[in-house]
Assembly symmetry: C2
Homo-oligomer: 426 residues x 2
């Protein structure tokens, strides 16, 4: 008979001395934060190549529905595992329940409705399978296939209830409310199978990541405690130090800079410039094996506190254990109080609904008195003049004139990348 | 005046004690292996979103050329930076020079021709811009835009010269030769701009990586010496230990398992099963922060030694410092000697042409005498009976019958994933 199998790590297996034991590795896997609502992440993207091909073929024979941009973004998030454990678009009862109490009729905690709203339904009925077409890609290719389990009219009162609960306003000027109401009032619900990740994957190939990928990469890095940081802009010292403060506070071994990818607004910095400036910061000012730079895509709701809860939920799904929420997180205008996106976790999110922990932050800035970046709430003796503060407009103007902001505000190597960009515009 | 800027890492910046100095980080960056042929990687994908959108729009107005599958794969490799410093498809003079002497007429070392061959040209001429359409995706979307700098007939003699030099045979049964000759004999050359990564990116979203991404991730991991391993199959203990032997031999801190993605042949293991089995092996049997699991896509040439040189070149472009080449690398049938893919680096690749180093390997297998996996050439006293050897067919049969191969051959956790798959087929 063959000799008994060797233990998983023998000395001769070693590529160095500090190889962990199998027990350690297994513990590491067991220690990973669970996805929201299930033991394993269940992304709705069709990974099996044969099934993918068959579904693509089937889709071409199905009735089509062109998605709203918002629903398309949600399909991407569902496909990528960020919205685990949802299996598709909610029906009206679930949507109302999530808007009202942040929980589906089946008891799944979810902080916002995830609806496929359209103006009218033609050419398909309940029970049919339909091809959901992407409004954000030329030629409107199929993004996902949906099995239609309900087609429901949403009343004006129901629309108003949802905007009131989710956005805390019915103001049609609120960009999230406007986008929500512009979709139509017919809800097409049912499970979906996702075929691609829209323009997020094709236009941001080096930055876009699914929640599956981020979980895989966390494992590859060997991290146990991971802080996620939301951004869509280059990072100056205040942001860099905020990430480091959060990492230190929770004793994290990893930080995931997780960028919201999407169509640019005039004046926005192009993705490659933003990415390069963030990578330069990470390369020079963070220890090796402590930062991962990634992106995801959906249409921002600007729903302030409710969106903050959604942000936390999908960071849990991607494997982060902690999420930074600062002042005015995901807000717009003056619809929300500066710390509403933090207090909602204490006041409204039921205990145990999410496993991810929130790192509540205030603004950070360089203190001339203390010669370091501080969190403003920690230095109650400071006045405005004690900080190095620059408006976004002032910073853009300096950069455009080839003048670097002071190094207390921007790392010189980061400023150089941004100056090169702004000067290339002239 | 504000105080002088602090040095990049002050104690107060620290998230832990072992933060490297800026000097260390800069050295780390300087230490990275350069791409082939240029100081910076120049991928041909259009990263700027505005330019991407403009190019996509322009493409719809341009004359179309449907690519061969092989040329489409090359466009993907060019887009992803793997073929740096090439800027597009070669003209015939360069192709012949690369086939003959592995160097372009401009002196760029490149081991194979990279041609856009077609049967005939209609609707465009030299100087035009054309839309290169993807033969491998439904609806044949535009993969890249080419500026046509030459349209040349390739003579039978030139085709024969290239197959003879690259494939070392003119046998039409050789799958690489057959694919090469089936494309046609008109070469459309010129620089390209790439819009997407074909089905490799859309169907393998969690595995496909560009060379840019892999360089970024190496930096994130903080690795300095990186061994790349080519595979398209699940990894058994022999492969696992081969990677570890290579890492130990070159004192590497990282191993990149780099999978060739592509259409399946009947009997192949689906990508998600293969990926899961490789990830399980890496999670359980490698130290944290030592493995990255990634994939790339093009149509394999089966060109043995020449393809091995190409494989090494694109691993250098993605930032690997060492590449494992075993017996029969990239070969097929009996066209090549078992070690031709190794000796070509000594006999034909000019010194200094590539910076990446080759780790030459022999087959590895579990030795019953020594109770460990060994490289066969290192145990000249062994006979076949001293190893645990199983044919692919035997392994598949065992797995299909729910019987795990011995643990000396397959890690039990890996075997379980493969058994689950094979049994699901019954």
């Amino acid at each position: 008979p063959p000799p008994p199998p060797p233990p998983p790590f023998q000395a001769e297996d070693g590529i160095r001395d500090n190889i962990p034991s199998l027990v350690g590795s297994e513990m590491c896997i067991r220690d990973r934060i669970k996805p929201h609502g299930s033991d394993e992440l269940n992304p709705l993207f069709v990974y099996d190549t044969d099934k993918h091909e068959a579904l693509s073929k089937e889709a071409e024979t199905l009735p089509s529905l062109q998605l709203s941009s918002s629903a398309a973004g949600n399909a991407v998030m569902l496909g990528a595992g960020y919205y685990n454990p949802l299996t598709g678009f909610m029906n009206v009862a679930d949507a109302i329940a999530c808007a009202d109490k942040m929980v589906t009729t089946d008891g799944i905690f979810f902080p916002v409705p995830v609806l496929n709203l359209t103006e009218k339904v033609e050419g398909f009925a309940v029970g049919d399978r339909i091809a959901l077409r992407d409004p954000n890609v030329d030629g409107n290719p199929v993004l996902a296939v949906q099995t239609v389990t309900a087609i429901e009219d949403v009343s004006d009162e129901q629309m108003a209830l949802m905007t009131d609960k989710v956005y805390r306003t019915a103001d049609p000027e609120h960009p999230g409310v406007a986008a929500f109401n512009a979709q139509g009032q017919v809800a097409v619900s049912g499970p979906i199978e996702v075929l691609n990740f829209s323009y997020f994957q094709s236009e941001f190939p080096d930055t876009f990541r699914t929640a599956v990928e981020i979980r895989n990469e966390i494992q590859e890095h060997g991290w146990k405690k991971i802080v996620a940081f939301q951004t869509r802009n280059p990072m100056h010292r205040a942001h860099e130090e905020l990430c480091k403060m959060a990492m230190e506070a929770v004793d994290a071994d990893g930080c995931i800079i997780h960028m919201l990818l999407g169509k640019l607004k005039p004046g926005d910095i192009p993705a490659p410039v933003r990415d390069a400036s963030i990578r330069k910061m990470a390369d020079l000012y963070f220890p090796p094996n402590s930062v991962m730079i990634t992106g995801y895509g959906f249409d921002m709701l600007y729903a302030g506190p409710r969106e903050a809860v959604l942000h936390a939920l999908f960071r849990q799904n991607m494997g982060a254990t902690h999420f930074i929420i600062g002042r005015d997180h995901a807000g717009v205008g003056d619809y929300y109080g500066a710390f509403d996106a933090q207090t909602i976790f204490d006041d409204e999110v039921p205990a145990g609904a999410l496993d991810i922990e929130i790192f509540n932050a205030d603004h950070t800035a360089y203190s001339k008195k203390l010669n370091k970046v501080v969190m403003m709430r920690d230095v109650s003796d400071h006045t405005k003049e004690d900080f190095i503060l620059l408006s976004g407009t002032a910073v853009r103007e300096m950069l455009g004139n080839g003048k670097a902001p002071p190094p207390e505000f921007s790392r010189p190597e980061v400023a150089q990348i941004l100056m090169d960009y702004y000067q290339s515009l002239n």
